[in-house]
């Protein structure tokens, strides 16, 4: 709150400058066209490379599902981290923009998680012989999906935006604390999924011809997430401004009506 009360003439740049909604709207407005262009280019390159990549010797052409599945799965986790950090920021500093960020990220994260689940089960049908198997990673991603749904549902159940934001932030942090526990317990329960093959101590176990398209697709998806998140945040800021303007307007009308009513009664 301190940075909001500072006089506008002080223009020393700090990260907290971004926390000012007006500064955020200005900067994100400038950045978005570039980011959108970057997303399109990365997807064009990544999809072409993925299309031209050689089929895997075991999995055949179905390996190409990986280029959508793995980035979506990474983002399903990354997006929850964004929500958890924003929620902590909102609970500690009560800054509205942190709440806007958490609110905007939840549906996007839910969609990426769903995308990871759907592509995973499409891949699982030819590979494991069933659309759904109760393997550890599938199960923990499914639980993550339910956590997203819970966040969205809790926010929708509360009308007043400030309360809804804080309740959702508390739930997001409860979830963030529990996600590692859920993940490890589910691992203990059953492991059938491929072990991690890109990030590991002894280097990737995936062939470079398959790895490069994957990395570019992961980058493309990440920038796509940034674009969607900024867009959704801008929409939310504008929506809140509209609500505030409507509230002012309604109050003004009510005051006028009262004045008019009194005038009539005086006549």
């Amino acid at each position: 709150m301190a940075e909001l009360s500072e006089p506008q003439t002080m223009r020393s740049w700090r990260v907290s400058t971004l926390a000012n909604p007006t500064a955020f709207m200005r900067l994100s407005g400038k950045l978005l066209p570039w980011l959108i262009a970057l997303t399109l280019i990365l997807f064009a390159v990544g999809l072409t490379m993925a299309f031209l990549a050689p089929p895997d010797y075991q999995q055949g052409e179905t390996v190409k599902i990986m280029y959508v599945h793995v980035p979506a799965a990474w983002l399903s986790m990354a997006c929850y981290s964004v929500i958890a950090l924003s929620s902590a920021g909102y609970l500690i500093w009560r800054h509205p923009l942190a709440d806007v960020s958490a609110k905007a990220a939840a549906p996007i994260g839910a969609v990426f998680t769903l995308l990871a689940l759907v592509t995973g089960s499409l891949w699982g049908k030819p590979m494991w012989g069933a659309y759904w198997v109760w393997d550890a990673r599938l199960t923990s991603v499914l639980i993550l999906f339910f956590l997203y749904l819970g966040l969205i549902a809790l926010r929708q159940a509360i009308d007043e935006p400030g309360r809804a934001g804080r309740a959702a932030a508390i739930l997001a942090l409860i979830g963030a604390v529990n996600i590692p526990i859920i993940k490890y317990s589910v691992n203990w329960w059953n492991t059938l999924h491929q072990p991690a093959s890109v990030i590991r101590a002894d280097g990737p176990t995936i062939a470079p011809s398959l790895l490069w398209p994957l990395l570019i697709m992961a980058l493309a998806f990440t920038i796509l997430f940034v674009v969607l998140h900024l867009k959704a945040m801008r929409a939310e800021v504008l929506r809140r401004r509209c609500d505030a303007m409507i509230a002012v307007h309604v109050r003004g009308d009510a005051a006028q009506d009262r004045a008019g009513g009194e005038a009539v009664s005086h006549v």
């Binding site: 199960t139 339910f146 549902a153 409860i174």
Partner: protein
């Protein structure tokens, strides 16, 4: 400490004298356990194999069903407001409420579990293991459920929302709870240790979330 014990004593006394909440949870538990064989068929070998899982799942559902009233009645008659301005910090109010939930709901459910197990043809030497796993794990369940109840306090459709919010968090409890029945050597001790760790962690962490949510709903 005195206020804390007084609050627990009050909740226990209320639960015992009214009795309806305990009865509903027990009834739900028995019904849930007994309709499952109707769906799966009366194969005793199958039932005895899946009995621990069914008992744990029914237990969780019964505990969730009864948690929604944890703060609701106190909020409706204003005693939650009185508690909030009293000497007890909201964190301790949350601890005492979660503890009362465990004592008034989970303990009766644990006591009736051997009977419910008989309906499912559970092996008799598995019963002590099952009871131990329930005793170790359900404390944590009550504390997570307490935080969930505080979050959904006073919401429209709060009772429906609550299971959606907290059932995913129960996955580790269910896994280790049923894992305690596994045949593997050492599985029992390992699972009990994990369940105790989960419970202790919930006792340590959840009251803070519940207290934040309580303060939010009393604003």
């Amino acid at each position: 400490m005195k206020a804390f014990l007084a609050l627990i004593e009050r909740d226990l006394r209320l639960a015992l004298r009214q009795g309806s909440a305990i009865g509903t949870a027990l009834g739900f538990y028995l019904i849930a356990v007994s309709i499952i064989p109707l769906g799966l068929g009366p194969d005793l070998a199958l039932l005895s194999r899946i009995a621990p899982g069914i008992l744990w799942i029914s237990f969780l559902l019964s505990a969730v069903l009864s948690v929604d009233a944890l703060f609701q009645e106190d909020r409706d008659d204003g005693s939650l407001d009185a508690l909030a301005i009293g000497p007890l910090p909201s964190e301790l109010i949350a601890v005492s409420k979660s503890l009362s939930h465990w004592l008034t709901t989970c303990v009766p459910l644990i006591i009736i579990t051997p009977l419910a197990g008989l309906l499912l043809n559970i092996e008799l030497n598995a019963v002590p293991k099952l009871l131990a796993s329930l005793a170790a794990g359900t404390v944590g369940i009550s504390f997570i459920a307490g935080a969930g109840a505080a979050l959904t306090l006073g919401l429209r459709r709060g009772a429906l929302l609550l299971p959606l919010l907290i059932l995913p968090l129960f996955a580790p409890f269910l896994i280790f709870g049923v894992g305690a029945m596994a045949e593997a050597p050492g599985a029992f001790v390992q699972s009990i240790l994990f369940l105790s760790a989960l419970s202790l962690f919930s006792i340590a962490a959840m009251p803070f979330a519940a207290a934040l949510a309580l303060r939010l709903s009393l604003e």
